[in-house]
Symmetry: C2
Subunit: 456 residues, 2 copies
C-alpha cells in the first residue's frame, strides 16, 4: 500500500460527519482543570483520548500519571528512520465556563449554529486536537503514513502546566522527536493562514518599598520622612524614557534585532493602528520610538506596571504617610534575553535610583524564556506550503506578544523547535462565554494537516 493524498482528502470529506460526532463527544466532557471538583471529568477526557488514539491506529498509547492531571502519550513509529518524527502537542483541559449565565447554550452540550460549533474548548483546544486526529485517521485509513508521530497531550495547560517541566526532564528519550507541531496558536482572520514563529518570554517581579515602621499621621509627621509611595513613583518613572526606551542598564544588550525580512513579514500583517485603537480604547497608541506598532507588539521587549498599591485607597480622605508601597512589574522578553538577566538589571537599577531613605526588595516570581524559530526552518516551510495549498494564499508570519511556556520549555529541555500555528480565530471567544469554532475553518484545517504530513 502506498500513500495517496487525494484518497486521504476524499476519506476526510466523506467522513466529516463522523469526525464531527467524535469532536462533539470529546467536547461534552467538562474537563475543567482550574477546579479540583472536575477531577473525574479530567480522567474521563484522558481516557477518551487514549481510546480514540488507539482506535485510529496509534500505538503504545497510555495514560501517565503526574502529581495532578495525567498526560496522554501515544506514538506511531512504523514509517521508519528515514522519515522525521513529529511530536504533536495538545491540551485536553479547558477553562471553566463562568460566567455561566452569559452562555446562550450549555457549554458542554455542543450545538451547531450558523456554521459555528458552540462549546467550551471548541476552539481552545479540543478542536485543534481533533483536527490533527482527523487528518491522521484520514491518512491511516487510505495508505501508509508518511512520517513518524508521537503525542503529548496534557491536562494542565489552563493552570500553568505545573507538571510539564518535570515530565519533560524525566522523559527525554521517550519524547525524542525532530520537531513539535503545536496548534495552540491561532489565525489573524479566517482567510489569513498564520504561522507564529516567535514568542515573547516573561519575567514578573514583585517590588516592595519600606519607609516608616507603620503608617504615620501626615500632619504630625509630614515633611520629615521619605514617603515610600513617592520613592516607588520616582523609581518606576525612571524605568522608561520619553521615547519608550527601557532604562535598565544593559536591557537591550542581548536583544536580537529584527532582520529586514522579518520586518517586512511582520508589517505585512493586515492589522492597522486604527484596529488597535478601537480594540484597546486607549486615547492614543504609544511605544518605543523607531519600531512600528506590529513590531513593538511581538518583537520588542516591554516593561509594564501590572499593579501597584500603597496606603489608603478606600472612600474619602485618610491623612496618612504609608509605611510601604508595592508594585507588580513585568517585562516581556525577546531572544536572547533571560529572566535572570533582567532581574539582575532591575536590582542594579534600584541600587542606582532608590533613595537611601527607604528599604526595598525586588523578587522574580514568574519566568518564561522567549523563543524564536528560524523563518527558514524546514518544517515551518513545509507547513507554510500546506496552508498555502488549502487557503490558496501565502500565510502570514507573526511574532506573538504573549508567552506559551511549553514552546520554550520543549526547546530548553528536549532541544527541539516547534511549528506553532492553529485554526482558532480572534472572534472565537476563547476563555469567554459562547466559545465556538468556525466549522469551515476547522475542515480546512484538517486538509492542511493532511497536506503537511504528505510534504515530508
Amino acid at each position: 500500500m502506498t500513500t495517496n493524498k487525494n484518497e486521504a482528502n476524499d476519506y476526510c470529506k466523506n467522513n466529516e460527519e463522523v469526525f464531527l460526532k467524535n469532536f462533539k463527544e470529546f467536547l461534552s466532557i467538562p474537563s475543567i482543570s482550574t477546579d479540583s471538583l472536575h477531577q473525574a471529568e479530567i480522567m474521563l477526557a484522558a481516557k477518551w483520548l487514549k481510546n480514540h488514539l488507539t482506535t485510529i491506529g496509534m500505538e503504545n498509547v497510555r495514560i501517565i500519571e503526574t502529581k495532578r492531571n495525567p498526560i496522554v502519550y501515544g506514538e506511531y513509529l512504523k514509517t521508519g528512520k528515514s522519515k522525521p518524527t513529529i511530536l504533536i502537542y495538545g491540551h485536553y483541559d479547558v477553562q471553566p465556563p463562568d460566567p455561566i449565565d452569559e452562555w446562550e447554550s450549555d457549554p458542554f452540550q455542543p450545538i451547531e449554529n450558523n456554521g459555528k460549533l458552540f462549546a467550551r474548548g471548541a476552539s481552545d483546544m479540543k478542536g485543534q486536537i481533533m483536527i490533527s486526529l482527523a487528518a491522521i485517521e484520514s491518512i491511516m485509513q487510505t495508505g501508509d503514513f508518511p512520517v513518524n508521530l508521537k503525542f503529548l497531550f496534557e491536562g494542565e495547560e489552563e493552570i500553568g502546566s505545573p507538571s510539564m517541566r518535570t515530565f519533560l526532564e524525566e522523559n527525554k528519550n521517550v519524547l525524542k522527536s525532530d520537531f513539535v507541531l503545536n496548534l495552540d496558536a491561532g489565525m489573524v482572520a479566517a482567510d489569513i493562514p498564520t504561522i507564529v514563529y516567535g514568542l515573547r518570554g516573561l519575567a514578573y517581579f514583585e517590588i516592595e518599598i519600606y519607609g516608616p515602621r507603620h503608617d504615620l499621621h501626615s500632619g504630625l509627621f509630614g515633611g520629615i520622612v521619605y514617603n515610600p509611595a513617592q520613592a516607588l513613583c520616582e523609581i518606576l518613572s525612571k524605568m522608561k524614557d520619553e521615547h519608550g526606551v527601557i532604562q535598565l542598564p544593559g536591557f537591550y544588550d542581548s536583544v536580537l534585532e529584527l532582520t529586514n525580512e522579518e520586518r517586512q513579514k511582520i508589517n505585512a500583517l493586515p492589522v492597522t493602528d486604527q484596529d488597535y485603537l478601537k480594540e484597546t480604547g486607549s486615547p492614543s497608541l504609544w511605544g518605543e520610538d523607531g519600531y512600528s506598532t506590529l513590531e513593538r507588539l511581538g518583537a520588542r521587549p516591554t516593561l509594564e506596571i501590572n499593579g501597584m498599591t500603597s496606603g489608603y485607597t478606600g472612600e474619602g480622605p485618610k491623612t496618612i504617610i504609608p509605611s510601604k508601597a508595592i508594585a507588580k512589574v513585568s517585562t516581556r522578553l525577546v531572544p536572547n534575553q533571560t529572566p535572570e538577566q533582567v532581574h539582575q538589571q532591575l536590582i542594579n537599577f534600584f541600587e542606582i535610583h532608590a533613595p537611601p531613605h527607604v528599604h526595598w526588595q525586588v523578587k522574580l516570581i514568574t519566568k518564561d524564556l522567549p523563543c524564536l524559530i528560524d523563518l527558514h526552518f524546514e518544517p515551518t516551510q513545509k507547513y507554510s506550503n500546506a496552508l498555502q495549498e488549502v487557503w490558496k494564499k501565502e500565510p502570514v508570519f507573526k511574532r506573538e506578544g504573549g508567552s506559551i511556556p511549553i514552546v520554550s520549555d520543549i526547546k530548553t529541555i528536549l532541544g527541539i523547535d516547534t511549528v506553532l500555528s492553529g485554526f482558532s480565530l480572534p472572534s472565537d471567544r476563547i476563555h469567554s462565554p459562547n466559545e465556538h469554532i468556525q466549522l469551515e475553518v476547522w475542515k480546512k484545517g484538517i486538509q492542511a494537516i493532511i497536506s503537511f504530513f504528505f510534504n515530508f
Copy 2:
C-alpha cells in the same frame, strides 16, 4: 467682694476631691459620636454639662439642637465691658473605645492608678473642659470674676464637626467675643508648658488617570499603549525635586516665611531628630532643604501621597496593563496658602506633565485653612505668663503640623483668634486603649487657668 487669686487657689486645692468626683461622673457617660447607637449618651453628656455650668454660676445656659449632636452654650457677662469676653471652646464627645479588648479597665468606669486617671475622654478632652470649669468655680466661689465668659461645647468634634460652620454662621452675634480659649492641643512633655500658635491647613485630592477602556493582556498589547500606572508615577514623581522642594507652579508664592524669632522658638523645642527617628521607625529623616526637622514639621507646607492603587494587587502574577490608576494626595498648607489655590496649581501641573496618551482628573475632596496667631497677641502673652507662674519655666511655642479646623473656622467666620493650648501629653494614649490623664498635670492646669483669668 473683690477678686483674690490666692483665695481661688486655696479653694481649688481644698476642693480637688470634689472636682475629681465631678470629672469622673462626666467621664462615665459614653458620649461616643462616631456611632449613632450612642445618641442617648450624647444627650446625657450635653445635659450633664448644662447642669454643671448652671451649678457653678454660669448664666443663660442652654442646649441648642443641630442636625446631629447638640451644642451646649452658656455665658457669664457680669464683669462688664471694660474686661474682655473669652469664648471657651470644647467638645464633650469622645472616640469609641475600640479595640475594647486592649483596655485594662472599663473605659467608662474611670479608675485612678499610679497618679493617672484612666477613661475614654480623660485627656481628649473632657479633662480639659473640667480644668476650665474647676478654675471658673474656684474663682466664682471666692470673689468677683475678672473677665466675661462664653461657652461653646460641641458634640461632633470626633466626626469632623459637620454642624459647626453653619452654627457659627448663624450665631455670630451670640458668640461675639474677644478671643477663644481652646485647650484641645497638648504639651510637649509634662514639664514643658506648651502654646500652639500655628496650625497647618489641608487640601486633600483624589487623582484618577485613565488609559485603555479595560485592563489589557500585557502580552497581547504590551508595547503599544501608555500604561496609566506609569503615567501616574511619572507625574507624582515630578511633584518634588531631590531637595524636597514642591514643584507645583506658584506653590510657595503665598507662603509666609518664618521670622527669626519663630525659628528660634521652634528650634528650642526639646525634641531631637533622634526622637523622631525612633518614633517613626524610618530609615532616615528627610525633607525640604534649608529647614530644620522642627521647622518642616509645623511651619512648612508638605505634599504627600496618602494612597494609590492600580491594576492587580492580589497574590501572584497577573499580566495586565491596568485601565486606570488612582492616587490620594494631600498638602498641608501654611499661611497664606489656600486649598483652592493649590487645587488650581495641581491642575496646572497636570496640564504641563500628564502625557497626552491618558485622560485624568484632579478633585479637591477636603479642605481646611491654615492659621497662625501672632506670637505677641496679648491673650497669648497673658496665657504664657500664667503657664510660667505655675510651671516655673518659660513655655515653648509650637506650630502644629496637623489641622484643627475649628480654629480656622472661628477665625474665618467670627473673625477672632484663638489661644490654643492644653494639658494632654503625647503619652496619654488619646484615641487609643487605656487613655488617661496625669493628675498632677491636670491639677497644675486648673491653677494655670485661674492665673490666666486673673491676668486680665
